[in-house]
Symmetry: D2
Subunit: 341 residues, 4 copies
């Protein structure tokens, strides 16, 4: 039956380029630290077609945790280095003026990453305007949180285009909260790219993108996935359910559900079920590929119009720490004369 269902129109929602790759092979990855992995992905026009992400370089920093002070510092230093490398790659000099834009809704915790980051970036443009004697090594930087259309009534990209025309910066850095397709990456990944950003992407309205093509100057987007799509949690659960049920079937003669929490996840991860086993346990669902299954779930969720956010319980704390990491890294990478750590 599955080959007759047309699921191709359903896009799995993720803002992380890395999650759209069919394979992680041939990626330029280095392990900076036991806890930090940096992956560099170049999307050319061919790959762009395949994975539905725009052409450009995508730097992905993956880490375990930012609740620990030491980790946070290391993640921040890594991000700082990567920002500096990207500025070099884009031939941006210390004299070039920067506009930082914090996208998102300050009043909705998982969407507040941009506005919170803006609060702690060092803004200096007005000092130059006012003729203040600014220390050497300090770049001309302005910063703005344009809000969200639901609160302003104005399309964000329209606001940004005009600000860029008004203050004529040499380049733009955009900060935004993203969506991931896997829960493990939420709040544990920073993506930086020169390909631009589409606020509320996935909607597929390219008119709304903030990018070098649209603005005429380099645009560096820095984002952290802070939510997963509803379909992710459903799909993940069904997959683990499948493995869980099979595991029970195989390991317990009494067929009782006795879960020993420690390492359980590790154990069932390795349960590979045959197609027959899958079909027995979750019927027709088991005959679909993982991608087909997920698209089917999206189909259902969209049909029943469930417009939900899925985010970790401690999101308020994580957002605060992540915005600290990004604002510090930005301050250190953009200006020569300050050290924030």
């Amino acid at each position: 039956m599955n080959n007759e269902i047309d699921l191709s129109k359903h896009k799995i929602r993720t803002d992380l380029a890395i999650e759209t790759l069919p394979s992680m092979e041939n990626l330029d990855t280095y392990i900076k630290d036991e806890q930090i992995k940096v992956t560099s992905l170049h999307v050319d026009s061919k790959l762009s077609q395949e994975i539905g992400k725009k052409e450009g370089t995508y730097i992905t920093i993956e880490f375990d945790d930012v609740t620990d002070y030491d980790n946070r510092e290391k993640v921040g230093q890594t991000l700082e280095e990567e920002i500096k490398k990207m500025l070099d790659d884009k031939k941006i000099t210390p004299q070039d003026e920067c506009l930082i834009i914090g996208l998102g809704n300050e009043k909705s915790t998982p969407d507040a990453l941009g506005p919170l980051t803006i609060k702690n970036v060092l803004v200096t443009r007005h000092l130059f305007l006012l003729g203040t004697n600014v220390k050497e090594g300090i770049r001309k930087v302005s910063a703005l949180s344009p809000g969200v259309m639901g609160n302003t009534g104005i399309e964000t990209i329209d606001l940004i285009k005009n600000i860029v025309q008004t203050i004529k910066p040499s380049f733009v850095i955009v900060i935004d909260a993203l969506a991931a397709s896997s829960i493990e990456r939420v709040n544990k990944t920073i993506q930086m790219t020169d390909s631009g950003i589409e606020p509320g992407s996935g909607v597929g309205n390219s008119r709304k993108e903030i990018s070098e093509q649209i603005l005429g100057i380099p645009v560096i987007a820095i984002g952290v996935p802070t939510v997963v799509d509803s379909s992710t949690i459903v799909s993940d659960t069904i997959n683990y359910l499948l493995k869980h049920l099979s595991y029970i079937k195989d390991n317990y003669s009494r067929n009782k559900l006795i879960v020993t929490r420690s390492n359980y996840l590790e154990k069932i991860k390795n349960s590979n079920l045959s197609k027959n086993e899958k079909e027995e346990v979750i019927g027709m669902l088991g005959t679909l590929s993982e991608e087909e299954q997920k698209k089917l779930i999206i189909e259902v969720l969209e049909a029943i119009n469930y417009n939900m956010i899925v985010t970790p319980k401690e999101i308020d704390y994580l957002i605060e720490k992540l915005s600290d990491v990004i604002s510090s890294a930005l301050n250190n990478a953009l200006h020569k004369e300050i050290t924030n750590y």
Copy 2:
């Protein structure tokens, strides 16, 4: 297989008493308005055992929407009347002093209902303390948001017990964000009860409850479900998936997935599948009762330790409007001399 799995330990998470009832029959319900339904439920000791909710009266106000100004006003008036009735039932007089407590985390949008409500309640106790000439009809009211343990390091109930001992109010009103087990009720239900409240309930630690037994004075809890448990969204989706797949099978010879959004939900709601059909489509899962299915999902989610919040995308706006409704209703019900609408 299902009768061999021991799922009884898994509680479906809901703070709404009405959602735990096996049947809605015999409930004292009245329709105040086309859009507003008020249900009064008395939980006696027998029912308390059955549904796992504490003894007491539960008033449930269900409504369509608070984004519309007119609706909001009607919901507020209904709540005001119900608060007044409950004050009468508990023999609370206009001279009795009230302490209002806003539970929850102001920095996490769906958990901010309590603190936001506190910001708009009329506080008067200090005017009496300072000997100000207070208008007749104004009650002595104090209000506090004790924060959450993750931010203060202190158990909320310990703080509250001591505040009650210090200022010795005649009764306490507690405002909190709740969890529902069905998405349809999120932000569309207000529950008021005299049975007390357990912050972070479902954990089953009765030492932590805020109730008349613990505090020795009447405790009226007013809550709105602002989140659903992760298991709800998974379980709802699987149910609709089941109906969806069956519907397709029955209605489309080509077996293509062509969903006409309008009224789709209504259509598939009525698709009742036979046990065989269910088993065919989702295998062993289909043989479980809805409750068993849900518990199994909780089992899996807990095993893989997914600690997520599921909440509507426009939660920031809804929380603000709901806290306005509650604070206005409280101000009008507690004091004779003000009208807030």
Copy 3:
């Protein structure tokens, strides 16, 4: 000596046109209510030269108090009526699109009036954009708080000019916190004018003004004085000091300073001192006119670079109530189909 000091360059800082008038005669004033006085002042080119305020109509609403609910409601209704009248005068129809701008710094309490008001105005422009079916009588409204240059690095007027060019509204309403030259008016006056506004006015940089001349569409500015200049408090104190000392001299043989607080202010207000008495008590200072005295104080304060705000202690509460009054009046005046009271 005084006639030799050149004080003409020192401007007494006030944003209220009414405070710059040499006399209150010939003003069109009506008493709406015992507590509310509305004054309409037309500044023509001649008067503009004299008082240093731009040409246009200035509506001044003076009231006692907004801490009382009833008063607040009356002030709100008065403002609503005056806004409607001004819209009519400016030939603005219900079809005309409005952009509301909240000037000021949200993080500095006395400067937060604009941003706080914006939070509660009804924004609808995006509903029209998205093709939502909007009720008749609802106007197209967008709203924005552009922040302050110290936080964004961008001149506010530059941001506003571009937003106006982008979204092309028919008229603009600007909300801002003002400075008064008399403490009695702080938080007790609303000024509305069609003459535009200069953020951080008094600085005298007309390039920065937000006005019909600059934007090409009607600009209605609504402001409330929330601070007084440091010079005001010094000058007021010296004046009362003068009266106080004279009063003591006249009334107490023992020359002891025994102040009976009740009605004291009333009593000494009427103490009119002769020039000789003044000179005896405060020397050369006493020989200056009130205006000269004030300018001298400004001279000194500027020389010693005291860059201070003077504001009432309960400013946080007052700002909140005042922003409620303004946002409600705006919502009611701009849209036909809502009633906010």
Copy 4:
């Protein structure tokens, strides 16, 4: 005339012990850095009577500026060292549990120092409660902002007493915004004392104090003056006015007011006027001592009931940086295992 006026009841409002001293001689002062001066003052029972400050040790850290990152870091390190010394002096060990209290009103910018600091202190008590494996070197710390009576209706000290009884910490650290009597010290001084604190001090209600006597455990108060009393700005201005007028008289034959801003303050600071000169310029006012003059100003301000705050224009920025400095210093001084810089 001045010796007949009874001004003794008027207290010059300052929370800084150092400002109440008749002389700065015999103080234990060291210059930590060109920009940072640390003064240690021990108030014994005799001095306590004289200056009206409670017995105890007062550490005063004076600095130029916290808007500069480097300065901020140095001030933070100095405060950290002084906190550690005071903990040692009070025989507080790393095992002793700490409760940190942030006094003040979060919504009023100059009063928000306490609540803002609390937001960034590391809270750990709940981790011990929950049996989490806490790293060695981490102290048990809880933290709370009790709000202000105007918002809660509850006296702050009542709340604090009960929290102390409930959670039984070994010592308390209180953070509060203070008032200074000289503008030069505002936002440029940190005072730490073991003598306790009176929220809204100067009112002279000792029942309200938070101190070791009241709570039975050591209380360390850390404060920064963020406002000056209205009387300060009036009195300062009159003094400079006096010098200014004399300076003009002496230096300009034309008697014109030509102020060259640069170094003007320095120049007139050294203008010492004879009593006769003073009397000529500001009359009877000139015959009063500086203290008498100030008390007379307070007399007048109180009589006319001016209840104003005087604070620098950029207070929002300064409060943020100062709370960062204090929270970092606290985190580093209280826990061994973290470094915040």
